[in-house]
């Protein structure tokens, strides 16, 4: 864990695009209170922009009719929400028990060396970002790597090399 409270302001107003707007309206009917839409809305922003800015949080609060501070709380509590821009290819390596025991560190070390960035950083050209995350729920096929949301299981350095070649 670290301090996630420093939000980034883009200086530009945020709004859902037509697709997310429709999705918001579809989802909001599901819940007994509008506050329940905080988490789904944050996902929609992340889907649309890849990360969540201060302006986007204010937009969500406004759209739902709640306090910006409540959206701020939720967004900083859950580490799956990106509060800064990610690389074009966002690589997550699971660091929880099964993956840890089956060698996630070798994978992380290899990626650090290949990409020249540490977990939590974005490469200078904006192509890659790397992150260590908590359990991704595929412990049976550990260690697990997630690239832009897609799972790659039973990973090792050799397989990773092949994968990186297709990504670069």
């Amino acid at each position: 864990m670290s301090d996630r409270s420093q939000l980034i302001e883009t200086g530009k107003p945020f709004a859902f695009d037509a697709q997310r707007d429709a999705e918001f309206e579809r989802l909001v009917k599901r819940y007994p209170t509008r506050e329940s839409m905080i988490l789904p809305s944050l996902w929609l922003v992340q889907e649309q922009e890849g990360w969540i800015s201060a302006e986007a949080m204010a937009y969500i609060a406004d759209r739902i009719g709640t306090f910006p501070s409540m959206v701020y709380e939720a967004a900083t509590f859950y580490t799956m929400y990106n509060l800064q821009p990610k690389g074009k290819t966002h690589i997550c390596v699971c660091r929880t028990l099964s993956c840890y025991l089956l060698g996630k560190q070798e994978i992380v070390d290899y990626l650090k060396q290949e990409l020249g960035i540490k977990p939590g950083e974005v490469s200078a050209d904006g192509q890659f970002s790397l992150e260590e995350v908590e359990c991704l729920g595929h412990c049976g096929t550990a260690p697990v790597v997630q690239v832009n949301g897609e799972f790659y299981e039973d990973m090792n350095v050799a397989k990773l090399k092949e994968l990186l070649a297709t990504l670069k």
Partner: protein, 520 residues
């Protein structure tokens, strides 16, 4: 009276009020259950775990006292070793990242963390790792200064902004030991009750920019009083101190619980009116623009009254019931027309539905009770042809524009009897200083018709005479509050059955219909 239940605390039978939770019910009979997050005005949150107690009836081993209602025959355990251990452990947890900066912390002396450490912990720290560092002296707006490191994350301030002011500026962001209270970027505290978070904060995380570093809490004398910032009459503590070789000075107002008036809170503007008690006071009597002795000034007033052909008397809507009554009797005795004109004290549209009122005077309801005309027409009639205006405490410059005031004073000589140095006292032929409300006692009727009493809080090195004493010296019959109260009781029907010497702490409701009836 409230219903009672009998239960057992540590095996001893205790009778407490029914319907309350354990913290409030036991607190009322002097049994303390330590708690950080619970506050009666904000409800039970159950996040601090400091109030865990045992109940021997097959429930889970420990329950939070804030969320548990008292019940007949309940067996509550407060002193078992396992409970003491929990309290020690919670204190240790709270202190892991707490900077022990009590020597420079404003809260020291009235800090729950300090008190509880001494009472329930007292153990040395076992921490060997570096504490988590967070932000300090953050400007949260509304003159609230926040120190994230001192915070115990009880969320009282967060709940206050969400539940009471409904402005929701504060939130707890991050999680685990990185969690902290913060404002959303660019959205600071923006409500008129924000400084209440300073009182609510059980530790020194929320401080008031106005008060911080001014005084140590243990030097302050905390005297109960009534705020005179508006007609709500919020109950307050006047925190004041006489430093060595100096005068008694007020450092802050804090809200004082009165469920019938203000609950636990007060507004920020009212809180800052303490400054008017310290500053811009009329101290020296003045005759024709120069400083004079007190006796000389009184003599000048008496001469002016006897030499006047028509006198008008103006009274302030902030004066106490006793003062207004003695001024009314005095005005009648010299055949003077009496007015309470004070339109400038009313800020239309400024009030809200919580505490703040449009009427920035403390006792206008007493005008109705004592038949005092506060209309402009009444004032114009009173002043018409008058060659003397005796102004008791009324800041006429608030109601009249400069040229209007000048035209009034062109014909009439002005005598100002005032606690504050105002535009009026500067223009007066004679100015006589009197004690202000923090140095005097009296009764007020608030906007809801509730009669309340305030007593002398501050004793100045050179005390000024009270307004009633001065009125007496210039020819009024009434010499003190006791005589005024006796007179009030004889003259005002609605006060007949009220013992004005014994006003209860919560005040007495004079119902609207009764007040209206008397006025009619």
């Amino acid at each position: 009276m409230a219903e009672k239940v009998k239960l057992f605390v540590n095996g001893q039978e205790v009778e407490v009020e029914a319907g309350k939770n354990l913290i409030d019910a036991f607190g009322a009979v002097g049994i303390e259950i330590p708690h950080l997050c619970y506050h009666p005005a904000l409800g039970a949150d159950g996040n601090c775990r400091m109030c865990l107690v045992g109940i021997e009836d097959g429930r889970p081993p420990l329950v939070p006292a804030c969320k548990t209602k008292v019940a007949e025959g309940m067996k509550v355990q407060l002193d078992a070793e396992k409970i003491k251990k929990i309290q020690r452990d919670i204190m240790e947890l709270e202190l892991i990242n707490h900077p022990i900066d009590c020597p420079i912390c404003d809260q020291a002396g009235e800090c729950k963390l300090q008190d509880y450490y001494m009472r329930y912990d007292g153990k040395p720290s076992r921490m060997t790792v570096k504490p988590v560092l967070k932000a300090k002296k953050m400007d949260f707006g509304c003159d609230v200064v926040h120190d994230q490191e001192r915070c115990v994350l009880c969320a009282r301030c967060v709940r206050f902004t969400r539940l009471v002011t409904k402005t929701g500026e504060l939130g707890i962001v991050n999680r685990t030991d990185y969690a902290r209270v913060n404002i959303f970027p660019g959205r600071p505290l923006n409500n008129r009750y924000a400084l209440n978070v300073v009182d609510l904060c059980p530790v020194g995380a929320m401080t008031s920019r106005d008060f911080r570093f001014k005084q140590r809490a243990w030097f302050l004398t905390k005297s109960p009083s009534i705020c005179q910032g508006c007609s709500k009459g919020c109950n307050i503590f006047i925190d004041h101190n006489r430093e060595k070789y100096k005068d008694d000075v007020i450092y802050r107002f804090r809200p004082r619980l009165n469920e019938k008036v203000n609950g636990y809170f007060m507004c920020d503007e009212g809180r800052m009116t303490y400054k008017q008690e310290n500053d811009n006071r009329l101290i020296a009597p003045q005759v024709n623009g120069r400083e004079a002795g007190f006796a000389e000034a009184i003599e000048a007033v008496r001469r002016a009254i006897s030499g006047a052909t028509k006198t008008a008397v103006l009274v302030s809507p902030n004066a106490s019931l006793e003062q207004i009554f003695s001024i009314r009797q005095f005005a009648a005795s010299i055949n003077a027309a009496l007015s309470g004109y004070s339109d400038g004290y009313i800020k239309a549209g400024d009030g809200d539905d919580f505490l703040i009122q449009d009427d920035k005077s403390a006792n206008r309801a007493a005008f109705t009770l004592l038949n005092i005309d506060d209309s402009k027409a009444g004032f114009d009639a009173a002043i018409n042809g008058a060659d003397l205006l005796i102004n008791f405490q009324n800041d006429l410059g608030r109601s009249l524009a400069e040229d209007q005031l000048a035209s009034v004073l062109a014909n009439a000589k002005l005598i100002a009897i005032s606690s504050a140095a105002t535009g009026c006292t500067a223009k007066s032929a004679v100015a006589v200083p009197v004690a202000s409300y923090s140095e005097d006692s009296g009764s007020l009727i608030n906007c809801d018709g509730r009669l309340q009493r305030y007593e002398i809080a501050v004793a100045k090195n050179q005390p000024l005479k009270s307004l009633i004493e001065v009125t007496n010296l210039i020819g009024g019959e009434i010499a003190n509050n006791q005589e005024a109260r006796a007179g009030l009781q004889a003259a005002v029907a609605v006060l007949k059955d009220i013992d004005l010497e014994q006003i209860p702490a919560e005040g007495i409701a004079l119902t609207e219909s009764e007040v209206a009836h008397v006025a009619a």
